[in-house]
């Protein structure tokens, strides 16, 4: 199967959803996202069968930009993440009634399309285009279907958009500069081959870093995050936190490190330190959040900080751990935000202070929420543990203090998550009625939890999938 099929499915899906009308939109979107998932699984099979899944079509002659897609293990893993989460996210929204839902679901599929493209593109510019494209739908999703005060939301969303765009434009500049050095080619292989001086590498590294640090986000570039997460509709938040953040992290591994390896090595400690600072900072800020989604946003900040730190170790373990943790975090964070949404659907609030006592009303929901909370704090046996352990292990190999400081996440994380859990779910029965989870909601949770637990005990398929490509990338990093 051609690698571009999945993109075509999603794109057609986006339009089909839009034209299917408000009533059918969600179902059509689900259908197409499932088709994309199927397609990605077929791709995975082909890949495992040793097929080289790539595609290069000349697109623009001068400067030489190709429509080049390549699905190696890493890319496939991310595509799978995106393809698996999209139906879950769409399905999870079935309980909500969105105005103009045809546009809403169309945008979701379009965003999935762009994100999948980002993971697959092997031409710098094509990658950049997908990267930017992914920004537009989420902007509208957050803007139009978001919640909270309209003015505040507008501010938050615009800040988010401009901020991320600002970062990525610097990346674009870096790409253009690189292509000059690579005789006008934007192909990733050519970019890998470019010989750059230390100084050039530094600036290019920095330009990439700006783009990724904002997207991921790494402190101190995270200020957009909490507000947008809070203001966006939960589906948007899920897309953002579940997949879009991973675009940044993925890009660090795919683009930033191999292209500017000298700089990566030179300034490794600084960037690891930034990542870890994010872990501690995010965790501490999360302690005193009153809004459920904001708290989750800061927890996400902490987690991705650790992933970023892992990526910047430039070791196989670090990269592998980072990728595993990306996938794990993708699922768990989607689950958690969905839980927040489930609560919101019933109580119309996310203020932690106004919640509580849900456990007596819906033990089922409590259990599922608890599993997600525990996965989020990386309890062994969940997928997150595998990732977090690997990352922390790699950090410990660089410097044990990184592991110690990064490891505070398991304490602080437990602190804020359990505190949140306690105040949201436990305590005296809430005066408001909490209807038990519906079948649809339950299915979404079940899928996420199943993934988390299965790979928690048996991460081997994913590890095997990503390891060869990570090794290749490491070879590029260490070539000189």
């Amino acid at each position: 199967m051609n690698v571009s099929t999945i993109l075509i499915i999603l794109l057609i899906g986006a339009f089909a959803t839009y034209f299917s009308g408000d009533k059918l939109a969600s179902k059509v979107a689900l259908l197409f996202s499932l088709a994309a998932l199927g397609c990605s699984i077929v791709l995975l099979n082909n890949y495992n069968a040793g097929e080289n899944i790539s595609l290069i079509n000349a697109w623009i002659a001068q400067p030489k930009i190709s429509f080049a897609l390549n699905a190696d293990g890493l890319g496939l893993a991310m595509v799978l993440l995106s393809a698996a989460l999209t139906p879950v996210i769409i399905f999870s929204s079935f309980g909500n009634d969105y105005k103009n839902s045809k546009a809403f679901y169309g945008l979701i599929l379009f965003m999935a399309f762009a994100m999948t493209g980002t993971f697959l593109a092997s031409d710098g510019l094509l990658y950049y285009i997908f990267w930017e494209l992914a920004l537009i739908p989420i902007y509208f999703i957050a803007l139009i279907w978001g919640n909270g005060d309209a003015e505040e939301r507008r501010k938050a969303v615009v800040k988010f958009f401009i901020y991320t765009l600002a970062g990525s434009l610097f990346m674009l500049t870096a790409f253009i500069y690189l292509s000059q050095k690579a005789n006008g080619s934007f192909l990733i292989e050519d970019l890998y081959k470019v010989q750059l001086s230390a100084c050039e590498q530094f600036w290019i590294f920095l330009a990439f870093f700006l783009a990724y640090a904002i997207k991921i986000p790494i402190i101190p570039f995270h200020t957009w995050q909490a507000n947008v997460y809070q203001k966006a509709p939960t589906v948007g938040t899920m897309l953002l936190s579940g997949i879009m953040l991973k675009m940044g992290l993925y890009s660090v591994i795919r683009w930033q490190l191999p292209i500017a390896p000298l700089a990566a090595k030179e300034y490794m400690y600084i960037f690891i330190a930034l990542g870890i600072a994010g872990v501690i900072y995010g965790s501490i800020v999360a302690l005193r959040q009153n809004d459920l989604k904001k708290l989750l946003a800061y927890s996400s900040l902490a987690h991705v900080g650790l992933i970023a730190a892992g990526s910047y170790t430039l070791t196989l373990d670090g990269l592998r751990g980072a990728v595993l943790q990306m996938i794990a975090h993708g699922f768990v964070v989607v689950g958690l935000f969905f839980a927040a949404e489930v609560i919101f659907r019933r109580f119309e609030t996310r203020e932690i202070a106004q919640l509580g006592g849900i456990r007596t009303q819906s033990p089922k929901f409590t259990s599922m929420f608890l599993i997600l909370v525990l996965a989020s704090v990386a309890l062994p046996g969940t997928f997150n543990f595998v990732g977090e352990f690997t990352v922390l292990y790699s950090l410990s190999q660089i410097n044990i203090w990184f592991a110690v400081l990064g490891g505070t996440t398991i304490i602080l994380g437990a602190y804020y998550m359990l505190r949140m859990f306690q105040h949201v779910m436990l305590g005296e029965t809430n005066s408001k009625v909490f209807a038990d989870v519906t079948l649809n909601e339950g299915i979404s949770f079940a899928v996420i939890i199943a993934v988390l637990l299965f790979f928690g005990f048996y991460p081997k398929p994913i590890t095997d999938l990503i390891t060869p490509s990570l090794e290749t990338i490491l070879q590029v990093i260490n070539k000189n």
Binding site: I129, L133, L165, L169, I176, Q180
Partner: protein, 463 residues
Amino acid sequence: MNTLIAITGLGIFCLLFEILNFRKGIIPFTILGLLGVLALNFCEFGSTESYYNNMITVSKFSTSFSSLFIILTIFLVALSHNFYENHPTKISDFVAIKIFLLAGGVAMVSFGNLAMFFLGIEILSIALYVLAASERLNLKSNEAGMKYFLMGSFASGIILFGICLIYGAMGSFDVVEISEYSLSAELPIWFPIGMVLVTIGMLFKIAAVPFHFWAPDVYQGSPALTTALMSTLAKVVAIATLFKLISGLNFIPSLENQDHLHTFENIIVFISIASMTVGNIMALRQVNVKRMLAFSGISHAGFMLMTFLTVATSAGVLLYYTAAYALAGIAAFSVILYVCKNQDDEDIANFHGLGKTNPLLAAILTASLLSMAGIPIFSGFFAKLFLFNQTIQTGHIALVIVAVINSIISVGYYFKLILAMYSKEPNQERTGKPFLIYAVAIISIALNVALGLFPSLVLDLLN
């Protein structure tokens, strides 16, 4: 040459139609005629010929830009139908003036003699003065016309003075001769001064800082369709002409001979940076959409000026950029025309809730703004990309970085409009779906996206 003749003839036919009392047919006929002209122009593509003692030289450059102008004019004429609904007696004049304006524009990009250039720019200018002031009972329109006229004729004077000095230096108005002489070592200083003066005059026309002041006022005051014309067609014509002047007269090599090249480049860089920055920053606080687009146009002029650092190779990029910009502009203005049809001004508040009342037009306006902001898949992005690519090749990284920062600022105001459309409640009912406006909006944005998907179509025309 045939194109020019055909266009002129078409203009005269327009006038005749009025006399023959065939008013209803004017616009369809004109559009058909322009399509025919476009086809004619396509036929000429690829040939490099000069006509009538080298008065007109047809080259790839001129034909491709002419095509762009013709396409833009088709859109503008199509939009005229609704815009001049209430002025049935004048419609032939309006259309004819636009056609003659197009003729001026075509002459400007295909001139082989400075006389043609001068006459072309004057036709263009005078037509614009008239169009700007054409709402005779509207003081704003009068003021816009007056401002544009005063400053425009001032700039024309400067251009004329520049041409005069060039003639003084070269003893000829012929482009070929001038370009040959300009390479000789012994040149009177009149030539570079003349060129600089002409350049300044043209910078005025494209509204580059510090010669930009007229643009916001005039754009705001003029009737919306005229603004559309100014911000798309007129700007594109001016920049293309300036490009042709500088490249066609071998200005750059001649400066190089005299060691002025560096300073000239610095000037270009400075003006480019200043235009972008001033345009973008000033646009941030605007509430009138036309005024905002004027400032946006100023900043785009800054971007386009970046091509002048690589005159030898960047014709294609300029064509692409102008096409992307103009098509986005047409799409945006067709929506503005629709929205502000019966409004006193083009305040952003008029756009509130357009996303709800009229999602298609809102989407088109959004797309065109995104294109102007340089968001991928719209051709505006590729335009910027190619531009940056070109510029980095010459080593002007700082300029590119400033341009990048400016792109970021620009998002601020483009999105202000998008926000207004999607996140505010509608404050008025909009009825009617004028076919031509929809058609223009859809086709232009489709062309814009098509350019984005297949940039090589345009980009390689001139390479």
